[in-house]
Amino acid sequence: MLIPVMLGVTFLVYFIISLTPGDAAAMILGNGATEESIKELREEMGFNDPTIVQYANYMKDLLTGDMGTSYSTGKSVAGEIGQRFPNTFKLTFSAIFIAILISIPIGVISATKQYSIFDNAGMIFALIGISMPSFWTGLMLIIAFSLNLGWFPSSGMDGIRSLILPAFTLAIASTASITRTTRSSMLEVVRQDYINTAKAKGVSKKDVIRKHALRNALIPAVTVIGLEFGILLGGAVLTETVFSWPGIGRLMVESIQRKDTPMVLGCVIVFAVAFSVVNLIVDILYAYIDPRIKANYN
């Protein structure tokens, strides 16, 4: 399933990007170029071919790891993205790690103590959390922790201290929505008969929650974590811009401003592939969490 979707995604993105107005050949050569040389380059680069032929050529190169060369720097797109990818990876994975670490316990406690003060406060924070745009949260965190308190640097990538603010910024919205999902699926599970059975058997309260309730409630939570990852990748574009974090998101924004089409195309494709791969991993994780799914395949 992954391969046809990926083919579709690359085609869609290629098609959208090809709608960009303006003459790419003229752009590469810059202002001083003659009519003649622009024409020549256009022919050489295959810009006169129909979009579908250009796409086929692009895909042929892509399969060998070649994503073309940047219009503005002349460097290899794949090389540049390869250099930046680990930074985005570091940022998004720290964010999802923080989000899971905070949200699952809060979600579970909220559900087991429904309508308590803790639950209400948690849900209010979660609602505000999903309503805050990441770039604004980032600016507020910079004002508080970097400009006023001076605890963390406000931009750049220099050791673990510079990772903390962007990672938290990116994590807030996901923390909120994973908390909400964990809480509501826990609430659903604790009303099931098998929970009563376990309690009646004399299983301790802690074990009922951990072994019987949580494992079943985690299935929807894992789905949301997968979906959140897509939102995180989108959020990375903004967070990286706010914190001048040298990742693919910032590279993409800069490339759009410079009208560097091959670079933009490469960034979007890498994002889409990363998102699809994460969702594939989520599907595999299901089988581990829920033996019923594995049983279906055997």
Binding site: P4, V5, M6, G8, V9, L12, V13, I16, I17, S18, L19, T20, P21, L127, I128, I130, S131, M132, P133, S134, F135, W136, L139, M140, I142, I143, L147, G230, I231, L233, G234, G235, V237, L238, T241, M252, V253, I256, Q257, V264, V268, F271, A272, F275, S276
Partner: protein, 298 residues
């Protein structure tokens, strides 16, 4: 039990029965305090948008630069202070409300009409048509929505119209899925069969019988999506791909004020709060509607 008491009881039961579906929803909705707060906030935002000219003149107060009054702190004259060009931040936020609500509603309408059309056909006819439509939409879903919107605006150029198109298109698959699911849940009901039996045409059945009865989840989803669209508008404008300065838009106000956060944090504080409050109130309404439409889920 006295006769009178019994009569009252019967009357009570009759009242419940007499209430229409919408009155019933309102009855549940208004018990939800958070949702009512959200409703009041949105009414306030709509009033600000409608009566903006009474608060300040668009040309003179929201656009015209006034360098002598630049970077003033909040005061009686300028409630939220002035920005780097001496413009009143409060008045610019008020005019920004118009853009946010407008883009939010129009882009959701685009997504709802196209996604709704595709989803209805897929859900109603099923089989190969369903499969074909949903597989194509899966491809779009494989690209995180905000990234897709960024890509579309990058290709088409930054303007309010392109922004609405981009956010609209990015949301088509979500709406198609929700409408399809809603239709699947009612299409096998007896009254649909009855309509078919008396020879009603397919489009009459879909528009008059199926859709009105599957409205609930669609309304909830639309409300929540207007919130996401407002956030997306601000996000894209923040990275320079949406509404362009000097037009007052919350996200581009944040981008403009970023350079001054060290000494004038209110430049980024208030436009951000406007985003948070509008998104939060729509989320509260959406949650309230969901609970009101399906009390089981509570």
């Amino acid at each position: 039990m006295s006769q009178k008491h019994e009569n009252e009881n019967i009357k009570g039961i009759m009242d419940i029965k007499k209430r229409s579906q919408w009155a019933d929803i309102w009855h549940h909705f208004k018990k939800n305090k958070a949702a009512i707060v959200g409703m009041m906030l949105i009414v306030l935002f709509v009033c600000l948008a409608l009566f903006a000219p009474l608060i300040g003149d668009y040309q003179d107060d929201a656009l015209k630069m006034n360098i002598r009054e630049r970077l003033q702190s909040p005061s009686a004259d300028h409630w939220f202070g002035t920005d780097e060009f001496g413009r009143d931040i409060f008045i610019r936020i008020v005019y920004g409300t118009r853009i946010s609500l407008f883009v939010g509603i129009i882009s959701v309408s685009i997504a709802l009409s196209i996604g709704g059309f595709l989803g209805s056909i897929a859900g109603y006819y099923g089989g190969k048509i369903d499969n074909a439509i949903m597989r194509v939409l899966d491809v779009i879903l494989a690209i995180p929505a905000i990234l897709l919107a960024i890509t579309i605006v990058a290709a088409l150029g930054a303007s309010i119209i392109n922004l609405m198109i981009a956010i609209g298109i990015a949301n088509i698959p979500g709406f198609a899925r929700v409408v399809r699911a809603a239709i699947l849940s009612v299409k096998d009901q007896e009254y649909i069969e009855a309509a078919k039996a008396i020879g009603a045409k397919d489009h009459t059945i879909i528009l008059k019988h199926v859709l009105p009865n599957s409205m609930a989840p669609i309304i909830v989803f639309s409300t929540l999506k207007v919130a996401t669209a407002i956030m997306a508008t601000a996000s894209l404008s923040f990275i320079g791909l949406g509404v362009q300065p000097p037009t007052p838009e919350w996200g581009s106000m944040l981008a403009g004020g970023r350079a001054y956060i060290r000494d004038y944090m209110y430049i980024v504080l208030y436009p951000g709060l406007a985003i948070v409050l509008s998104v939060l109130s729509l989320n509260l309404i959406g949650d309230g509607l969901r609970d009101a439409l399906d009390p089981k889920l509570k």
